[in-house]
Symmetry: C2
Subunit: 332 residues, 2 copies
């Protein structure tokens, strides 16, 4: 298996991207190799900082980079030799089995959809994010590939999300919920109400509407929503989690006795951090394109990037797209 | 001043509603009286549990109740003698200056809009929620009165939100942001992009788009969004905050040394809880109706309800609706 890595994408590229790839060497079987796409001299500079055997790496040199501020069309129109564009080309040509990037979401998604094409029967691909919760994990999609999703699109998201949850969460029968402003059947905006009817007809595992307070309560495994909404909710949850943790730290610092107390109960915090660490999943799959693209968070560090590579490996091994194609056909 | 209270609305009615009203006696000046609307025998049963002077209370008897599962039209069509319908009538007739209810949001909002009417120039009222953050507080609106808001509506929300933040957060020049999936100017779904242009033209304090991670970072004082989205984000934040706190408690219970540590650092947790307690604000104003309606959370306990009554008192005293009318006229 060959995994292509956009070495230049993300806030901490290329340092953390390369460090992540090196960490992955130990956790991904030896027959998997990595193609690092980006500026050769910068990549070598990073590789040489580490004392490891480099034979599983090869470098595909390019100097062009899509930045975080570039428009979604950047990798298609202006920067055709950018690291993301070339990495996607490699997947298309069969020179790589999967691709990981922590770069500009809009640009990488647009580039993948245009170049790789969509799976049969899918009108719009969606980003599926695996989210940690007290009871385990759930999948939320779309978390940012589409805005203004139509009911038919959301219906497809629900089918893809269900198949994805079976593979990634290893569930036999994932509970699929429609994200709405109340759990009652009639709740929702116009799109949600129309989608509710479609899901009721088409999706055997549809459990109805779910609201924000349901997400972290073991009520649902697949949360279906528009990408604009998914983005707002995910980032707000990230924001409040950081806010709470920051406030607590400040409060603890105020008194010596609290610092002592914290030191004694530190294990409890470490376990919480480990369980809620979004970096542990590392990356989200763009579901519905004809190729495996794992989008890592823009702020990914080496640990997150390593885990994104592991997700790419696992999903390639499990032939996620074959399963998606079969599942979509069955539903059609 | 007279404040009407829907004694039958909310998950914990009438017990906690009446207890909250009794707690409010000490914190709201003696010239303010309360009209408790609901089943007289049930209300008296609760009042008699407390050893207090009841002369500031009067009871408006009715046995009909709008439940949490009733449709939004319940208080207008079917249950015309429900506690919420009668309480709204009292505000309309000038028999009360403000109204507090923890009952069915859809039904109480619809009843207020229909019976009280809207402020001049306002097409759709919005619920404004004050949210605690590490740096202080911010206002989010609409948090649930409208779904599928049009750009013109969101523009009005921004004007009302700004005036509200001046009064409730005591800010001279609140920063108004549009909730979007990125802080860059071009980000958003169709409605957001069209709203951006309107706010840019009309609102002097508009700072541009804000994303989920900005909310808790002292970047914005008034967050403008559609009510469907506001509801999803608020409930998700509530869900994750409870999830985090629940997980931490479980982890602490696992070992004796952690329990000891927690006991020593407990003050830090108490301060966090106090600062992030949504019950401290107690209720959200329905901005844009011709009357003061404070919507308390459905799960309000006595403490939350007392604080909702205090908000009703404060906003009546500060003549919020006069300020809204003047502000809207100025912008028009």
């Amino acid at each position: 298996m060959i995994i292509a890595l956009d070495a230049m994408g993300g806030d901490n590229a290329p340092q953390d991207i390369i460090s992540g790839a090196i960490q992955a060497l130990e956790e991904i079987p030896a027959d998997v190799t990595f193609k690092l796409v980006g500026d050769e001299s910068l990549i070598n500079l990073e590789l040489n900082k580490h004392n490891v055997d480099l034979e599983r790496f090869s470098i595909i040199h390019t100097t062009e980079v899509v930045t975080m501020d570039d428009p979604p069309t950047a990798a298609i129109r202006g920067k055709k030799n950018s690291s993301i564009a070339i990495a996607v080309d490699m997947v298309k040509k069969g020179e790589a089995d999967a691709l990981v990037s922590a770069g500009n979401t809009g640009a990488s998604v647009a580039c993948c959809i245009l170049k790789l094409g969509r799976l049969p029967g899918i009108s719009r691909p969606a980003i599926a994010t695996v989210i940690p919760a007290p009871h385990g994990k759930f999948v939320l999609l779309d978390s940012g590939a589409n805005v203004d999703s139509k009911p038919e699109m959301l219906n497809q998201f629900s089918i893809m999300g269900e198949i994805y949850a079976k593979v990634i969460l290893e569930l036999d029968s994932p509970r699929v919920g429609l994200f709405s402003n109340g759990s009652e059947d009639g709740k929702g905006n116009e799109v949600t109400k129309a989608t509710f009817k479609l899901l009721k007809e088409n999706n055997y595992n549809f459990i109805g509407n779910v609201e924000g307070t349901d997400l972290f309560k073991d009520k649902v495994d697949v949360v279906v929503c528009d990408g604009f909404i998914g983005n707002l909710v995910l980032k707000s949850c990230e924001g409040i989690a950081k806010g709470i943790s920051g406030m607590l730290k400040e409060n603890i610092k105020k008194k010596q006795v609290r610092k002592v107390g914290y030191a004694l109960s530190k294990g409890a915090f470490d376990e919480l951090r480990e369980k809620t660490d979004s970096r542990a999943t590392g990356g989200a799959l763009l579901l519905g394109v004809n190729g495996i693209f794992i989008k890592a968070h823009g702020s990914s560090d080496a640990y997150a990037l390593k885990n994104a590579l592991k997700v790419a490996y696992e999903l390639t091994l499990k032939e996620i797209n074959k399963k998606l194609i079969a599942g979509i056909e069955q539903e059609a």
